[in-house]
């Protein structure tokens, strides 16, 4: 052991003893908030990638058409991006009344047919297809998610203007995921993410949102 080591070990705070329960709870809350934030960023990244792919596909289609202009292939002009944008209109999963147990933080009037309330946290309610065994509250992929908006985010963002229970909202589609943001009557900003599997339109996600109620157990997220 060197003199520096002996000196270091003789000073500074003690490394023994358990932290206070509130300190541990704070660490856990910060971690979970960061995880929600990371999920949101992942959704945005996926949508940006999809948008980039769309642009590239469009450019390739146009270039191919122009290069082949002298040949006999004019039908290529209308293919490509249109199919990606319009994908969610087919076989949308309809809403049915939810008569099962409600979870802390949120209540819902309806759920997609064949889906059920999976789990909830202070920041999120997750709804999954019947038969799904994934009850991880931190895994959002493939799930219908209701999230309290971050207090650090303001405005409704981009997308189609809609009305949810008389208040304005915005619906955006990113990589097949339908995203709705609006403010509920209690002042909570709410984000709803509907996975591509539901094939929902703007009207369907709004209809679902009008049956969502944020209760006193929910809190704003941060970041």
């Amino acid at each position: 052991m060197s003199d520096i080591t002996e000196l270091f070990q003789a000073i500074g705070p003690d490394d023994a003893g358990d932290p206070a329960a509130a300190t541990v709870a704070g660490d856990l809350t910060r971690g979970r908030t960061a995880l929600v934030r990371a999920h949101r960023r992942a959704v945005v990244r996926r949508s940006m990638f999809a948008t980039g792919s769309l642009v590239v596909a469009a450019a390739v289609a146009v270039t191919a058409t122009q290069v082949g202009g002298g040949s006999k292939a004019p039908a290529a002009v209308h293919h490509g991006p249109v199919q990606i944008v319009q994908h969610h209109h087919a076989s949308a999963v309809r809403l049915v009344d939810w008569t099962g147990q409600q979870l802390a933080g949120f209540t819902v009037d309806q759920v997609p047919a064949g889906w059920h309330l999976s789990t909830s946290t202070q920041f999120a309610l997750l709804i999954t297809a019947d038969g799904s065994t994934d009850n991880d509250p931190d895994a959002f992929v493939g799930k219908l998610a209701v999230l309290t908006s971050s207090v650090d985010e303001h405005g409704l963002g981009n997308g189609d203007p809609v009305t949810v229970n008389g208040v304005p909202g915005r619906v955006d589609v990113q990589d097949g995921t339908v995203l709705l943001r609006y403010n509920d009557p209690n002042g909570f900003g709410v984000d709803i993410q509907a996975p591509p599997a539901l094939h929902w339109t703007d009207a369907q996600i709004v209809a679902f949102a009008e049956g969502v109620h944020v209760t006193g157990n929910a809190v704003h997220s941060h970041g």
Partner: protein, 182 residues
């Protein structure tokens, strides 16, 4: 609210290891307890997000790396960007940090004069008693860099502490270190 397996594992880890992380962070923050607490909170927050990818046998190494990265990030960005005001003050009463002794004051001042990565190298080697290889992993650099950084750090520390009235003998930095889990 549900408590997941991740939550339980994480909670167990925090209870067992938080005090050790705060101690290491206090040295990295040159005795500033508030900065040290911020470093620990940042590191633990990142660990929670990455928890499924953190192998149980390397969780302490991951924590050390997160702590050092938090220190480097802090110096790059400054703490002001992490602060945001609130309308309501928290109910929790903040405890006053302990008043440093003369020795602590001298040591932390000497550490503060070192560049962040050099400081981290000497702290991991001589406080946490990591091996050169473990320190290199935590810092994301070569073992040779650890040796050179630690050597220069020790020279500067000896000069600073001698000037402050705390002379320490010259000992080899390459003497085997006993690996600890902190």
């Amino acid at each position: 609210m549900v408590s997941t397996e991740r939550d339980e594992e994480y909670r167990t880890y925090v209870v067992a290891r938080r005090a050790s992380l705060v101690r290491t962070a206090t040295f990295l923050a040159c005795g500033d307890h508030h900065v040290a607490e911020d470093l620990v909170q940042t590191a633990l927050m990142r660990m929670y997000v990455a928890w499924p990818r953190v192998r149980k046998d390397t969780v302490d190494a991951y924590a050390r790396k997160a702590l050092v990265n938090a220190l480097i990030d802090t110096r790059r960005r400054g703490f002001a960007r992490h602060e945001y005001s609130r309308a309501d003050l928290p109910d929790v009463v903040a405890l006053e940090p302990p008043v440093p002794t003369d020795t602590e004051h001298a040591v932390f001042a000497a550490l503060a004069a070192l560049p962040a990565r050099m400081r981290a190298a000497v702290i991991l080697r001589h406080l946490s008693e990591l091996s050169v290889a473990q320190t290199a992993e935590a810092l994301g650099c070569s073992e040779g860099t650890v040796k050179s950084q630690t050597s220069r750090a020790l020279d500067q520390l000896r000069d600073s502490l001698t000037a402050a009235g705390l002379p320490i003998g010259a000992r080899s930095i390459d003497e085997p270190a006993t690996a600890r889990t902190s």
